[in-house]
Symmetry: C2
Subunit: 394 residues, 2 copies
């Protein structure tokens, strides 16, 4: 079916159970869909923009209030909306990182953190992961010490993923922040997989910046996200423009340099706002989400040869499995090769896993119901059994 | 009426004639509205993202083709979508401007160009406008020469607004680009008011970069925009990541540093794409748009005391007028003060002019029909006459 003459209709979410690793928690709520329809036009939020002419001051629609709510939601003092978590990383790196400065990331940092560092001219240093793919505070302490000695000064910024994109593991954020602060290193929490899915309290974690993704985890349209910080750091990262026209003497009010002025002037912000009451409520149902994830994972584990690569027990719905010794054995001789698995799943209305992947792959059960989780679990077992794999209770 | 419990329904475009200076050309087309509904979910364009995993390579929906079409549309070799024109300025400034570098802008440059320069640490130098508020090549030549002498080296980048936000005037872009190239200065054309409304050919203008705004002039949701360039400059501004994890050895494929990887992964891009065939067609009807603008402006000029501040004859639908000696005289004694004008207009279903403004103000007739232009023209005359102002044919 066509959406426009050149564009197919997208009905992935309506017609299937989607367990895509990055799409699961960015599906719109019904309220966000309504807001998207009402606020689709370009500068749709600017109807009532009055002095001092900045997005986060607009009261109608209630954008100002939303900014306060957003800061409180992640346990910080100040928040701004940004065009994706990556633009939050860029703003923080742009503020603290000068050319040649050492910056600490981790062996599980997302590529957008690296690019933010590259863009600012920083030199990346990774904290290694342990044998269970967890970033630990002792490794952080060791690496910071080593980098400080080698660079002759402490790193200027540390990025830590709350939950990483590779394994969906939780890391020792609080302890790492404490270590970093011993060297006066500001700490940025990448909450792209956590802000909007599970409870996140930046102050309790002791971090300086909390970055979240609207389109990844807050049921919002792309690109959207949040950059939240403490009152102290807000003066730095949200500094206002000082530049002046040398002939005209023009100055530019209270626009913020790293935000490039206003950020999300329409549909993305309104979708985020419309979903927000639902998002705020859903983080308290995180246990149910984990339970649904367990149902699917237990099924996969019951298929002989399947290995879970993520930490166990699971503390996030994004999970990495290795089916080299189960589904991939079938792929070796199946006429559809590795595509047999995604093809069988698609026939059952389950989508979101990379077609052809039968070795190491990821899935995310976020947002599906218990009944859907049981359906997905049964589907995997059925496909395994149909293809002659042994299924044993784990 | 409510959109959600916390958000009012927005029906500004459905229920009124909107002559807002920045909103007029960002109103969605019907096809964009359909795309917004179908692609509202977070990462909605990523269903079929395959190696090399970059937005502009996705074939389904036809994002790759759209990028080619977009470059051709503005007469350049390569194009990328960005979260607003300002993020295009930021990418170019980030590529060419180092701390302390002289940069040339104009006395009519938009604030986001200044902030892009500030963000990169550049030092701004304005080309003055002439007495008719036009930026001329001779003034550019003089200023470049002066800045080069004072800085001991030529400026590293020049920004020129195709049509400026203050007067809606067209400037001597082609001639200025020629002058700048004499000093090897790359030239960025800010086409926020022109790309998507009138024909723009970057190669013919001789500029290195064409930046356009989706939400301002391409009937697209916010934030969206385009950064287009020549094959030569593309290697610089679209350079791919070189950073490497120092422990893991990880590299990050062909993601582009200034783009921060992928940019518009959902609704904004799809709205832009769905509107594009209509936008491509509408720039050829620019004369009709100018004619409609003239109908409204002639009516305003017929109200004694009104002065047009923009260049005449008009070459853009964004126009600045001074009604200090017409409508503002009424405001002095009217019980609604300056609000009488916007209030009277609103009653007639005309919106988009700042409430209370009766001295110097702007309007943009882009996208309204001839019948609507005649209605707006008649409304202004009626309001003038009702308040005792003289109306004379210009």
């Amino acid at each position: 079916m066509k959406c426009t003459p050149d564009i197919d209709l997208r009905d992935v979410e309506e017609m299937n159970i989607n367990i895509d690793p990055i799409q699961a928690a960015g599906r719109l709520t019904a309220d966000a869909m309504k807001a998207v329809i009402a606020y689709g036009d370009g500068y749709s939020v600017c109807d009532n923009c009055r002095k001092p002419f900045r997005l986060d001051y607009i009261e109608k629609p209630p954008i100002a209030t939303f900014h306060d709510d957003l800061a409180a939601f992640v346990g910080m003092d100040e928040a701004r909306v940004v065009p994706g978590a990556r633009r939050g990383f860029q703003a923080v790196a742009g503020t603290y990182v000068q050319k040649g400065d050492p910056v600490v990331l981790t062996a599980l940092s997302h590529y957008t953190e690296f690019i933010a560092v590259e863009n600012a001219g920083g030199v990346p240093h990774e904290i290694p992961k342990d044998e269970n793919n967890i970033i630990r505070a002792d490794a952080a302490a060791e690496r910071i010490e080593e980098v400080t000695r080698a660079s002759g000064r402490p790193p200027v910024l540390l990025f830590i993923d709350h939950v990483d994109y590779q394994f969906g593991n939780l890391h020792e954020v609080q302890e790492i922040a404490r270590v970093a602060h011993g060297y006066d290193i500001p700490v940025l929490l990448n909450g792209a997989y956590t802000v909007g899915t599970m409870p996140v309290d930046g102050k309790a974690l002791g971090v300086d910046f909390v970055v979240g993704s609207g389109h990844k985890s807050m049921a919002a349209p792309a690109p959207s996200g949040v950059l939240a910080t403490t009152a102290e750091r807000a003066e730095e990262v949200f500094r206002t423009t000082q530049i002046k026209g040398d002939l005209t003497g023009r100055t530019f009010g209270i626009k913020e340099v790293e935000m490039m002025g206003c950020t999300l002037m329409g549909v993305t912000l309104m979708g985020m706002m419309a979903s927000f009451p639902h998002v705020r409520a859903r983080v308290d149902r995180w246990d149910e989400e984990l339970a649904n994830g367990r149902i699917v994972l237990d099924a996969l584990r019951s298929i002989e040869g399947t290995v879970v690569k993520s930490e166990m027990p699971r503390r996030h719905t994004l999970t990495r499995v290795d089916t080299s010794a189960s589904f991939d054995l079938i792929a070796e001789t199946h006429k559809k090769r590795g595509f047999f698995l995604s093809s069988a799943l698609n026939k059952k209305g389950i989508v979101g896993v990379i077609p052809g992947a039968t070795k190491v792959w990821k899935f995310n059960t976020y947002g599906i119901s218990r009944a859907q989780a049981e359906y997905v679990a049964a589907a995997y077992i059925e496909i395994a059994e149909e293809n002659g794999l042994s299924v044993v209770s784990p």
